[in-house]
Symmetry: C2
Subunit: 348 residues, 2 copies
């Protein structure tokens, strides 16, 4: 089969690789119909994080079950399924409490299971990992585009909102106008936030944030952005969602948080490796830092209900669609900020 | 009047200084009968944090109201009162929500209000700041020794427990065997924790931790301590109290926290100025970081009820008592780890 492979910074190639096979009774092989390129893929693409050259990439697959092991009971061949970015067994302590990202099995995409940006992937724990799309929605292309973000970005934005303690009537500042930030705006709006202040620096993305429910936007960075947010919130927000995953954005989040407030964060904190995080601002103001890698499997059913119900639609974050051969161009477009998020259809 | 004055690292002197006076209608002047030296005082004493030479020190006074301004209604001359370490107005947004440490007035000890280690102090907001000790307990020396820690350390330990989400039946790891850690053990025990694992490296202090309710102790640091704690908790604790206030202790807290758990922290995070905090461990495991400078005023009434009721007694943390002239020796004893915490009786 064909799949995207990392060949070094800036180099993604589509190569012929072995197709994952059902080997254990709990396996399922999925023919990937829809997948995506993630903002987090750009870290290795830009050479800012380590990744083994030759490794398969991608972690947001949705598709049709091709084959299952004999122990699998929740899905069968022909079912449309979503595979959240973190593979989960569904049975360990952490999966049982909904913290699927801490699954004790520590299974991951890669050689054995394939990467999300390829023709097929395998999950070693079909029953604990896959989310089945109801048949009546399983072949509607518009619905599928709206469901694909459940594999990662929509659940991640939702995790930021939940971690920030967003509830009905709240005022929240969302930092970041990328796909996660935009999903965060959607999630905050869905949770009933009254004021959603979206902070970023791309006019087009902030316009989309407004479509998604942002009541105010701040197109600025650093001190200027902080001042404006503090002005709009009369001194800081009780709920701040850090949706960038950079040390500078976390500093902004701390500066924007009201004393006693909560920062929900979901981005891999890049740029704090060297400098670390200055937690004095958190300490002085008793600001809580909550969040982490998003257990999107835990949120899939409730978010799916709203997506298929038509009240939640993250599809506009996909501003570019490519086939498998278009994946390298998709990375380039995201790296150059031409595309917010790229949808990949490996079989088109 | 006489008061302790900072004269540079390692140098505390008792000097003649002006006595604070009632100047505004909300002021109260207190004759300090009991006060203490705080672990946080050691930071400037050791030259590890900046402090103006010539400034008055101390922030944990208890005493008798000497004189009040005409607007003061909650206390009158002759009342025994506790003055929490953070001066609070009682009327701003933050005081009203119990976050007294974020009081908008930003009043502090020092020249105008005196330092806690002196014969008199003044609070500019008697009604919003002082906690009155009921008359029936106001002159019992044993009770007063047990109430003095309400000015800071007991409320701080309690804040660590509350911030770590400690509840009945929980397992909690308390990092630090200083006065705050020991108070944290007391607080966790009071909140009903079933297993309290106290971590430190002084046998005598860990023995006191056991008296205070610790069910297990770990006398080690770094990797060894982490391994032992993870072993005792079968992989990490859902509740961790960081009661040291150092970057290395925070690292230990992160390593000891179970995925999905919460770290309650209350120590000024020294040693992270340069290195910052590596939050990757928090991120990967969705570990929440909650706490900050403790709003002990908010906890004073409930803790006082248990102290005067006889079910809560932090007095054993005072292992040395001095008069005002003994304050320099008190600093030395705490710096040399001879004393856990020093009680000061300025008028003895």
């Amino acid at each position: 089969m064909r799949a995207a492979v990392y060949r070094g910074p800036g180099e993604i190639e589509i190569e012929e690789v072995p197709r994952p096979q059902v080997e254990s009774p709990t396996d399922a092989v999925i023919r990937v119909t829809h997948t995506a390129i993630c903002g987090s893929d750009l870290w290795f693409y830009r050479g800012l994080s380590d990744r083994e050259v030759g490794s398969r990439v991608g972690h947001e697959p949705m598709g049709i079950v091709e084959e299952v092991g004999e122990a699998v009971t929740s899905v069968e061949p022909g079912d449309r399924v979503i595979a959240p970015f973190a593979i989960s067994c569904g049975e360990c302590e952490f999966c049982r409490k909904g913290l699927y990202t801490s699954c004790e099995e520590e299974a991951s995409w890669g050689e054995a299971n394939g990467g999300g940006q390829g023709e097929y992937v395998k999950t070693p724990f079909a029953d604990g990992h896959l989310v089945r799309v109801p048949d009546r929605h399983a072949d509607d292309e518009d619905t599928l585009r709206s469901l694909l973000p459940l594999t990662d970005v929509l659940g991640t934005g939702h995790h930021a909102a939940v971690s920030a303690g967003v509830d009905a009537g709240d005022t929240v500042v969302v930092i970041g106008d990328g796909a996660v930030g935009l999903s965060g705006v959607l999630a905050a709006q869905r949770l009933g936030a009254e004021r959603i202040i979206a902070m970023g620096h791309h006019e087009d993305r902030l316009a989309l944030a407004e479509d998604f429910g942002a009541t105010e936007t701040i197109a600025a960075r650093g001190e200027t952005a902080v001042e404006r947010a503090r002005e709009l919130t009369y001194g800081g927000a009780n709920h701040v969602m850090e949706c960038v995953g950079a040390g500078s954005a976390m500093d902004t989040a701390i500066d924007v948080a009201r004393d006693g407030g909560t920062i929900g964060y979901v981005g891999v904190p890049h740029g704090v490796e060297e400098a670390g995080l200055d937690i004095h601002g958190l300490f002085r103001g008793n600001v809580t830092l909550q969040g982490g890698v998003a257990p999107v499997r835990d949120y899939a059913e409730e978010l799916m209900a709203d997506v298929v119900g038509g009240t939640l639609d993250p599809a506009p974050i996909f501003t570019k669609t490519v086939d498998l051969d278009g994946v390298p161009e998709g990375y380039r477009a995201m790296d150059d900020r031409e595309a917010i998020k790229v949808l990949v259809k490996p079989w088109d």
